[in-house]
Amino acid sequence: MPRPDMPRPTMTPGTDPPSGRTGPSSRGTGPRNVFATEAQRASASRFGLVLFLITLAMLFGAVMVLLLVLRLDDALWPETMPPLPWQIWLSTAVLVLESAVLVRCCRAETAQQAKGVLWMALALAVVFLGSQVWAWCTWYGAGSPMPERELVTSGFYVVTGVHAAHVLGGLVPLGMLVWFATGDVWADRQRSQVRLTSWYWHFLDVVWVLLVVLLLLQ
C-alpha cells in the first residue's frame, strides 16, 4: 500500500529550524536527514567545499601551466611584453577588499549585522567584474598594434576570462545569502554558508594574485 503523502520526520531534535532549504515536500521527496546532527552536516559541507576547491585548484593549475609553457617558449612570445591594462590593479584591490569584507560577514551574529556587509560584498564582486570588462576593453584597444602575436593578446582574455567566470558563479551564493539576510533569516545554517562562501572567495583571491604574477612575468 503506497503512502504518497505521508510526512516523515526529517529533523532530529536540537537542529536548526528549516530555513527554506529543508523540510519534507508535499510529494514526500524532500531531503532525508542523512546526518544525525546539524554540526555533522555542516562539517560534511566544509569537507565537500574543500574537495570542490581542490578541483578548481587543478583547473586553475592547468591554466597556469598552460601560461607558463607558452611563456617559456621563446619562439611563441615577443621579447617585450606589452604592458598589462592598469585596470587589473583596480581589480586586485577590489578583490582583496572583497576578502576582507567577507571576513567581516563571517562574524555577523544577526541578520541585521550581516545584511550591510553582504550587500557590500555583492557590490564589490560586481565592481570587480566591471573592472575586468574595462580591462578587456583597454586591452582590446592596445592589442591592435600587434596582430602577428595573436597568442599574447588572446592569452590575457582566456586567463582572466576563466577567472571571471568563477567570480560570476560566486555571485550566486552571495546573492542567496543577501536574500536570507534581507528576509531576516540568519541561523546556524546561514552562518555555516557564509563561511563556505568566504572560503570560495578567498580562493578566487589567491588564484587572482597568482595569475597576475604569472601575467607580469617577463
Binding site: 500500500m1 503506497p2 504518497p4 514526500g28 581542490i54 587543478m58 593549475g61 607558452l70 617558449d73 595573436e150
Partner: protein, 567 residues
C-alpha cells in the same frame, strides 16, 4: 536463546513500502532526492546511451566487412566512429558503475540513508542529461569527425564544416562536472557516513574502488574540463593556443588531454575491479583473499594513473628521456593490477563456487582483463609501441580493458544487484546463454583485431587494401560483433521479462554479507530503520541457504552481531 533477528538477513518480503512504490508519478522520479531512484535513472540513461553507441559500433564493423567499405562514405565513417567512441566513453563507461550502480549501492553498503549531498546528486544527474542532450545537438548541427580525443588540428579545423564539435565539447565539459560532483559526493559520504564499526578496512572492496575512482574524478576531470573549454573557445574565436599556425602548441593539447584521459581509463576500470572483488568473494562463498592488498592496490592504481599519461604520446615527439620515464612508470601499473588478479584467483581456490550469472561475468572479467592488461605491456614498451601505435592492436587492447573488463563488470554488477534493485529474479538459464554469447562474441570481435594490428592495419580507416590479408580478420571481427550484440539483446530481453514475470527476490539471493543484503529487496525508502551493525563483510560462514526463502539467511547457531551489540 537465539532469537535471531531473521528479518535482518532475510525477510520474506511482504513489505508494503519500498523505494519504488514509496511515491508515485513522473515528478516523484524526476526530482527525487533518493539515491536509489537517481541510481536507477542513471542506469536507464546509461543503458540507452549504450544502445546508441552500440548501434554505431555495429555500423563501423559492418562498413569494414569489405575492403572498399560496405555501407558508408569515408566522411560518414569518420563521424560514426567518433560518435561511437565519444558516446561510449563519456556517456556510458565513465558514469556506468560509479553513477548508476555506485549511487544505488554505496549508501546502502554504508548503512546510510542517502549520500552526503542528495541535492548535489540530483543536480549531477541533470547535468548528465544536459551533457547528453549536447551530444544529440552535435548530431543535428553537422556531426563531428575528430575522434573521441578531439585532437588538434582536426578539432580546430573550421574548414571541415563539422558544426557538432563545439556542442560535443560543451557536452563533455558538462558531463565532466556531473562526474566531479558525483565523485565529491562519494568521497564525503565514505568519509562521514560509515556506520559504527565499519572502519576503513572493514568496508566492502567495492567502496574502496569507488573511493579511489572518486579521487581521480575530483583531481583529473577539471583539467579535461578547462582543456576542452579552451578548445571550444579556440575553435570559436581562433585564439591559437593549440594551433601551430597561430603560434600555439598542438602537443600541449595532447598532454592536457591525456593528463585527464589516462586517469579516466582508471575511472572506468577501478569500479569494475571493485565489483569483481565482491562478485568473486560472494559467489565463491569464501572470504576474500588479501583484502588489504586489493584495497591498497586500488589506491596505488589511482596514484599511478596520474604519472603515465605520456605513454599515449610516444610517437608525438616528446623528448626521449620523458618517453623512457613514462614507459617505466607505465610498467609499474602492472603490479597492482596483477595483485588484484592473483588475489581473485586465490579467493576462488577451494571456494564453493556457485555458477550464477554474475559469477560467470566475474570469471569472464578475469580472463579478458588478463589479456587486456598483458597486451598493455606491448604498448608500454617503446620499441614495440612504435610499430603498434595507432593500429588495431591499440583498438583491441583498450576494448579488452574498457569494454571487455569495465563494461563486463558493469553488466556483471547489474546481474548481481538486479534482485536488490528490482525485487525480481531473472532467468538463470537465459543469463548463462547470454553470457556465453557475449563472451564468445567479444573475444571473436577483438582478438582478431590484435592480429590485424600486429600485421599493420591502422585504426580509424574506412577502407583497406584488398591484397593485404586483412579482410578475413575483419570478417571474423564483424561476425563477433553481431554475436555480441545478440548476447546483449537477449540480456535486455530476459531482464525486462523478469520485471513482469520474474520470481520475487529474497533479501539475500547470493549469500552476500555486505549491508545491502540485509535490507529487503527492493530496499525500503529509508534503507534501514536504524544504523545496522557491521561485521566482517566477507565472512560467509554465518549464512546458510534457506529452501523456503530461496535465499540465504543467518545461521541459527551463530549469534547475530545486532544481538551481541544489544547485550
Amino acid at each position: 536463546m537465539s532469537t535471531v533477528d531473521a528479518s535482518k538477513t532475510s525477510g520474506p518480503a511482504p513489505v508494503t513500502d519500498n523505494y519504488l512504490t514509496h511515491t508515485r508519478g513522473v515528478w516523484s522520479w524526476l526530482f527525487t532526492l533518493d539515491h536509489k531512484r537517481i541510481g536507477l535513472m542513471y542506469l536507464v540513461s546509461v543503458l540507452g546511451s549504450f544502445f546508441l553507441g552500440g548501434i554505431m559500433a555495429l555500423l563501423v564493423r559492418t562498413q569494414l566487412l569489405t575492403p572498399e567499405g560496405l555501407i558508408m562514405d569515408q566522411d560518414q565513417y569518420n563521424q560514426v566512429f567518433t560518435l561511437h567512441g565519444a558516446i561510449m566513453v563519456f556517456l556510458v563507461i565513465i558514469p556506468s558503475i560509479p553513477a548508476a550502480l555506485g549511487n544505488f549501492v554505496l549508501p546502502i553498503m554504508l548503512g546510510a540513508k542517502d549520500v552526503a549531498f542528495p541535492r548535489l546528486n540530483l543536480f549531477s544527474y541533470w547535468l548528465w542529461i544536459v551533457g547528453a542532450l549536447c551530444f544529440v545537438l552535435a548530431l543535428f548541427t553537422g556531426g563531428l569527425d575528430t575522434g573521441w580525443t578531439f585532437y588538434t588540428p582536426y578539432s580546430i579545423d573550421t574548414g571541415s564544416a563539422m558544426g557538432g564539435v563545439i556542442p560535443a565539447l560543451t557536452g563533455v565539459f558538462i558531463l565532466g562536472f556531473a562526474s566531479i560532483f558525483t565523485g565529491m559526493n562519494f568521497v564525503v559520504t565514505i568519509h562521514r557516513l560509515r556506520p559504527p564499526g565499519m572502519t576503513w578496512f572493514r568496508m566492502p572492496l567495492f567502496l574502496w574502488s569507488i573511493y579511489a575512482t572518486a579521487i581521480i574524478q575530483v583531481l583529473a576531470t577539471p583539467v579535461l574540463g578547462i582543456t576542452l573549454a579552451l578548445l571550444a573557445v579556440e575553435r570559436a574565436f581562433g585564439i591559437g593556443i593549440f594551433n601551430p599556425a597561430l603560434g600555439g602548441d598542438p602537443v600541449l593539447y595532447q598532454h592536457f588531454f591525456w593528463f585527464y584521459s589516462h586517469p579516466a581509463v582508471y575511472i572506468m576500470i577501478l569500479p569494475g575491479m571493485g565489483i569483481i572483488s565482491d562478485l568473486i568473494a560472494v559467489h565463491s562463498h569464501r572470504h576474500i583473499f588479501g583484502y588489504s592488498f586489493i584495497a591498497w592496490s586500488s589506491v596505488a592504481i589511482a596514484v599511478f594513473s596520474f604519472l603515465v599519461w605520456g605513454h599515449h604520446m610516444f610517437t608525438s615527439g616528446q623528448s626521449e628521456l620523458v618517453t623512457v620515464v613514462f614507459s617505466f612508470i607505465t610498467f609499474s601499473v602492472a603490479i597492482p593490477s596483477a595483485v588484484k588478479v592473483f588475489n581473485w584467483l586465490a579467493t576462488m581456490y577451494k571456494g564453493t563456487i556457485s555458477w550464477n550469472t554474475p559469477m560467470l561475468y566475474g570469471m569472464g572479467f578475469i580472463f579478458i582483463f588478463t589479456i587486456g592488461g598483458l597486451t598493455g605491456l606491448h604498448l608500454g614498451t617503446l620499441g614495440t609501441d612504435v610499430h603498434l601505435h595507432d593500429t588495431y592492436f591499440v583498438v583491441a587492447h583498450f576494448h579488452y580493458v574498457m569494454m571487455g573488463s569495465a563494461l563486463i563488470a558493469f553488466i556483471g554488477g547489474i546481474h548481481h544487484w538486479w534482485p536488490k534493485m528490482t525485487g525480481r529474479m531473472y532467468s538463470e538459464l537465459w543469463g548463462r546463454i547470454a553470457f556465453t554469447l557475449v563472451f564468445i562474441g567479444f573475444n571473436l570481435t577483438f582478438f582478431s583485431q590484435f592480429m590485424l594490428g600486429s600485421q599493420g592495419m591502422p585504426r580509424r580507416y574506412a577502407s583497406y587494401p584488398e591484397d593485404a590479408g586483412f579482410q578475413l580478420y575483419h570478417i571474423l571481427s564483424t561476425c563477433g560483433s553481431y554475436v555480441l550484440a545478440l548476447g546483449f539483446f537477449i540480456t535486455a530481453g530476459y531482464l525486462i521479462q523478469s520485471l513482469i514475470g520474474g520470481r520475487r527476490a529474497p533479501a539475500n539471493p547470493w549469500g552476500g554479507r555486505s549491508l545491502e543484503w540485509q535490507c529487503t529487496s527492493p530496499p525500503p525508502h529509508d534503507n534501514f530503520a536504524e544504523a545496522p551493525t557491521v561485521g566482517d563483510c566477507y565472512d560467509f560462514s554465518v549464512l546458510r541457504w534457506d529452501e523456503n526463502e530461496q535465499g540465504y539467511v543467518w545461521r541459527e547457531d551463530v549469534s547475530h552481531p545486532a544481538n551481541e551489540a544489544h547485550t
